[in-house]
């Protein structure tokens, strides 16, 4: 067994425990309809991973333009692919919650707006990659676009929700810096955050290796 296998086994057990705890061990939060609050254990971590991937892909893009090392482009591409999957997951889980709590799947709540925005960025990023055949140019243009998108995100995420009124529950660490969760819930929530981050790291690693192999296969004809 390699170190990777051991880590993978641990991740599997950890996620199994998180899923069990999310449904059976943690209590349902007061002030939410029925069991609906349990979605927080999955919705927030996916949104967190979506944001994290966006950050990683920004850093990898900057590094690519600085070093011109194709491995950074592989990383930027891998984390963007991961980002788009988790963005869709966060959108779907959020939409289900919105349906139960607020009665409709979509309200253009500021946070829903921000995540749509993230989805648009990712879609544009992949549309751009698809439209450039030359590999070096593709990597460079995609990196430039990722950086441009990244610098506009703070405006949407931080400024727009402050201007509009929001239905969205307070973020976990809210503006007052206070934690508004039952202690059991909080423990499961943190464990789930850690678990999803581990899951994302594993998927990211896989995606990087696959992409590197794919490119190596293409390189061999040169």
């Amino acid at each position: 067994m390699t170190r990777r296998d051991i880590l993978l086994g641990a991740l599997f057990l950890w996620m199994a425990a998180v899923i069990w705890a999310a449904f059976l061990w943690a209590p349902a939060a007061a002030g939410f309809l029925g069991q609906s609050s349990r979605i927080v254990f999955f919705h927030v971590p996916t949104a967190w991973v979506a944001t994290l991937s966006f950050l990683v892909s920004f850093i990898a893009s900057v590094q690519y333009l600085r070093t011109r090392d194709p491995r950074w482009d592989v990383r930027a591409h891998a984390s963007a692919s991961l980002g788009i999957v988790f963005t869709i997951l966060a959108t779907v889980t959020g939409s289900i919650f919105a349906r139960i709590m607020w009665g409709s799947y979509w309200n253009w709540d500021p946070r829903e707006t921000s995540i749509t925005f993230l989805l648009l960025i990712y879609a544009a990023y992949f549309a751009l990659r698809g439209a450039v055949p030359d590999p070096e140019r593709k990597a460079a243009l995609a990196a430039v676009y990722a950086i441009l998108a990244f610098v506009t995100v703070p405006f949407l995420v931080f400024v727009v929700p402050r201007i509009y009124w929001s239905l969205h529950p307070d973020t976990i660490i809210n503006t007052k810096g206070r934690i508004t969760m039952d202690s059991r819930m909080f423990r499961v929530f943190m464990a789930s955050l850690a678990g999803f981050t581990g899951l994302a790291a594993w998927l990211y690693d896989l995606e990087c290796r696959i992409e590197a192999l794919r490119r190596k296969a293409e390189e061999e004809i040169l």
Partner: protein
């Protein structure tokens, strides 16, 4: 510095001269603007919106018309250089920043010309009354600059890819979305005469535009040479 400005003006003057001889960008921008304006004015007109909603909806509609017109023509400056294969010569002869500056100037002037014609028409056709016209014009001017900066760098990217027309809108929308939100808020506040809100929106537009300008200036050479 003066040399830099002189070379930038050379690119700008060349683009203007070519544009006045063919008018591809001007015509498509103007046609798009006039068509959308006619559609909006015909379907909504001055009385189609309840009094309370007017400032907000009219502000939003105005920017939507401007945005669509921008999408129709502001990619020409770069795409034309690639399509007619004049870009390599420009790449060999000019400094990258000079090209960026010239194209930015060209896009700004094109958009400003368009808005100078479009906005008065819009105000008349939609029966729009603005409480603080000075601030209204300032918001429009800041919006014109910020839109030009963003579309210029996106046009530069798109020109280096395939299926440029569709890609221009796809890549522009996410980058322009926050900007349009701020501009619509600022325009509404200017129509309603709420100066502090105009200032808040202007600050957001200027900082977003500023960040975009700095990022573009750094990234343009990469886009241009790869």
């Amino acid at each position: 510095m003066w040399r830099f400005l002189g070379e930038t003006m050379a690119v700008f003057a060349k683009d203007m001269r070519c544009e006045f001889r063919t008018r591809v960008a001007f015509n498509s921008l103007a046609l798009f603007a006039v068509t959308t304006l006619a559609a909006v004015s015909y379907t909504i007109g001055p009385y189609g919106i309840a009094e309370a909603d007017r400032p907000y909806l009219l502000g939003a509609l105005l920017w939507i018309v401007v945005f669509f017109a921008a999408m129709a023509g502001l990619d020409r400056s770069f795409v034309k250089e690639e399509e007619t294969h004049t870009a390599p010569l420009l790449r060999l002869a000019a400094r990258p920043l000079v090209v960026w500056g010239g194209k930015l100037l060209f896009n700004t002037v094109t958009l400003a010309l368009l808005m100078a014609i479009l906005v008065p028409l819009y105000v008349v056709l939609m029966g729009l009354s603005v409480r603080t016209p000075g601030w209204f014009i300032l918001v429009l001017a800041a919006g014109c600059l910020a839109l030009a900066v963003t579309t210029t760098i996106v046009a530069a990217i798109v020109a280096r890819a395939m299926s440029r027309g569709a890609l221009f809108a796809v890549l522009s929308v996410p980058l322009l979305l926050p900007l349009l939100v701020f501009l619509i808020q600022g325009t509404r506040a200017a129509i309603e005469g709420r100066v502090p809100d105009v200032l808040a929106a202007l600050r957001a537009v200027v900082s977003l535009g500023g960040v975009m300008t700095v990022a573009s200036a750094f990234l343009f050479p990469v886009v241009w040479h790869d």
